[in-house]
C-alpha cells in the first residue's frame, strides 16, 4: 500500500516537474521580448535585468516600460505597474492556505507569487502536488525569465534603431498578447473597449501615462456595473 502511494507520488512528482520546466521555457520567449523592448525604450541593461530579478512580474514590467517609452513620468509608470501587480495579492490570498509558509520561507514564496506558479498550483487536486507545482513553476520561470531577459537586453544593443526595426509596434503587440487570454473573463470585452476609448480620448488632454491610469479605473467601474458582472460580484447568478 505504501509502495503504491510512493509510486503514485513519484509519477505525480515527475509530471509536475516536467510541466514546470515546460512553462519556464515558454515564458522565456516573453523574457527575450521584454529584454529587447526594455532596452529599446531607453532603460539600461542593468536596469532591465534588475526589473526582471526584483519586480519579477511580467505585466507590471511591460507596463512600466510602456508608460516610460511613451513619454510618461516615472510616477505614472510605477503606478500603472503597481495597479497591474495588484492581482498578485489576490493570487497570494488564494495560495496562502496551500503553501502554509512563515518567516523566511514566506518572504521567499512571496516573490514567486505570479500568474504561472498560481495557475499551475490551483490546477492540482492534492496539496502536496499543489505546493510542489508552485515552487517548481515559480523557480523554473524565475530562472528562464531572467536568463531570457539578459539575452534580449544584450541582443538588442547589437540590433540598432528601435523604430526602424518596428520595436515600438512590438510593444503594442505584446500588450495585446498579454490581454488575449483574459478576454474570456466575464465582462472583459466590454471593459477592454471602454478602456481603449477612454485612454485614446484623454491622450490629447493629459500628460502621457495618466490616460492609461484613468482608463483603467473608469473601465473597472463600468465593468462592475455591467449586469452579469455585478450579479456575479454580489454572489448572485453565476
Amino acid at each position: 500500500m505504501t509502495d503504491r502511494a510512493d509510486e503514485d507520488w513519484a509519477t505525480a512528482r515527475r509530471q509536475v516537474l516536467r510541466d514546470a520546466a515546460g512553462v519556464g521555457v515558454a515564458v522565456g520567449t516573453y523574457g527575450v521580448s521584454f529584454g529587447v523592448l526594455s532596452t529599446s525604450t531607453g532603460l539600461s541593461v542593468a536596469q532591465t535585468a534588475a526589473l526582471s530579478v526584483l519586480t519579477f512580474t511580467g505585466g507590471s514590467q511591460f507596463a512600466l516600460l510602456g508608460v516610460l517609452g511613451s513619454g510618461g513620468t516615472p510616477v505614472s509608470g510605477t503606478l500603472a505597474a503597481l495597479l497591474l501587480g495588484s492581482r498578485n495579492a489576490l493570487y497570494g490570498l488564494r495560495m496562502a492556505p496551500t503553501l502554509d509558509v512563515r518567516g523566511a520561507r514566506r518572504a521567499l514564496a512571496a516573490h514567486l507569487v505570479i500568474d504561472e506558479s498560481t495557475a499551475m498550483a490551483v490546477s492540482r487536486d492534492d496539496p502536496r502536488s499543489a505546493r510542489l507545482a508552485f515552487w517548481a513553476t515559480g523557480l523554473a520561470v524565475f530562472a528562464c525569465w531572467n536568463v531570457a531577459t539578459l539575452v534580449g537586453a544584450l541582443g538588442a544593443e547589437a540590433l540598432g534603431d528601435p523604430a526602424t526595426l518596428g520595436l515600438d509596434a512590438a510593444v503594442g503587440a505584446a500588450f495585446l498578447a498579454l490581454l488575449w487570454p483574459r478576454l474570456r473573463d466575464r465582462g472583459a470585452p466590454v471593459v477592454a473597449l471602454v478602456a481603449v476609448a477612454v485612454a485614446l480620448a484623454l491622450t490629447p488632454l493629459l500628460s502621457p501615462g495618466v490616460p492609461v491610469l484613468v482608463a483603467g479605473l473608469v473601465a473597472v467601474t463600468v465593468g462592475l456595473s455591467w449586469p452579469s458582472v455585478r450579479l456575479a460580484a454580489e454572489g448572485g447568478a453565476p
Binding site: P74, G85, L93, A109, A170, A173, F175, A188, L193, V196
Partner: protein, 104 residues
C-alpha cells in the same frame, strides 16, 4: 529621464510589486476575499492592458496617429486569432511595421 530617475522607478516598482505579493500571503484570507474584490482583481489587468495596447499603438506625443504601428497591431490581432505563439505575434508585428516604414 535621467538614469537616476529610471533607477528610482525600477526600485519603487520592484518594492511595491513585492509588497503586494507578500500582502496576499500575509493578510487573513477573509479580509479581501469577496466576490467583488475578485471581480475587480480580474478586471484591472484587462482594462490596463487594453489601454496600454491602444496608447502604445495610436498615441504620438499628445496627439493620435494611425501609422505603421497600427498595421503591426492588426497583424498581432490576426496572429492571436490563429493561436500563433507569443514570439511570432511580437516579432511579426515588428516586422510588419518595419516593412511599411522601409516602403514609405
Amino acid at each position: 529621464m535621467t538614469p537616476g530617475t529610471a533607477w528610482v522607478a525600477v526600485l519603487a516598482t520592484s518594492a511595491g510589486c513585492y509588497l503586494l505579493k507578500l500582502a496576499g500571503l500575509s493578510v487573513p484570507e477573509r479580509a479581501l476575499d469577496s466576490p467583488r474584490v475578485r471581480a475587480v482583481g480580474a478586471l484591472i489587468p484587462v482594462a490596463l492592458l487594453a489601454a496600454l495596447a491602444a496608447v502604445q499603438t495610436f498615441a504620438s506625443g499628445r496627439g493620435l496617429a494611425v501609422d505603421a504601428r497600427a498595421a503591426g497591431l492588426a497583424f498581432a490581432f490576426v496572429a492571436l486569432l490563429a493561436r500563433l505563439p507569443f514570439l511570432v505575434v511580437v516579432v511579426g508585428a515588428a516586422a510588419v511595421a518595419a516593412a511599411l516604414r522601409s516602403l514609405a
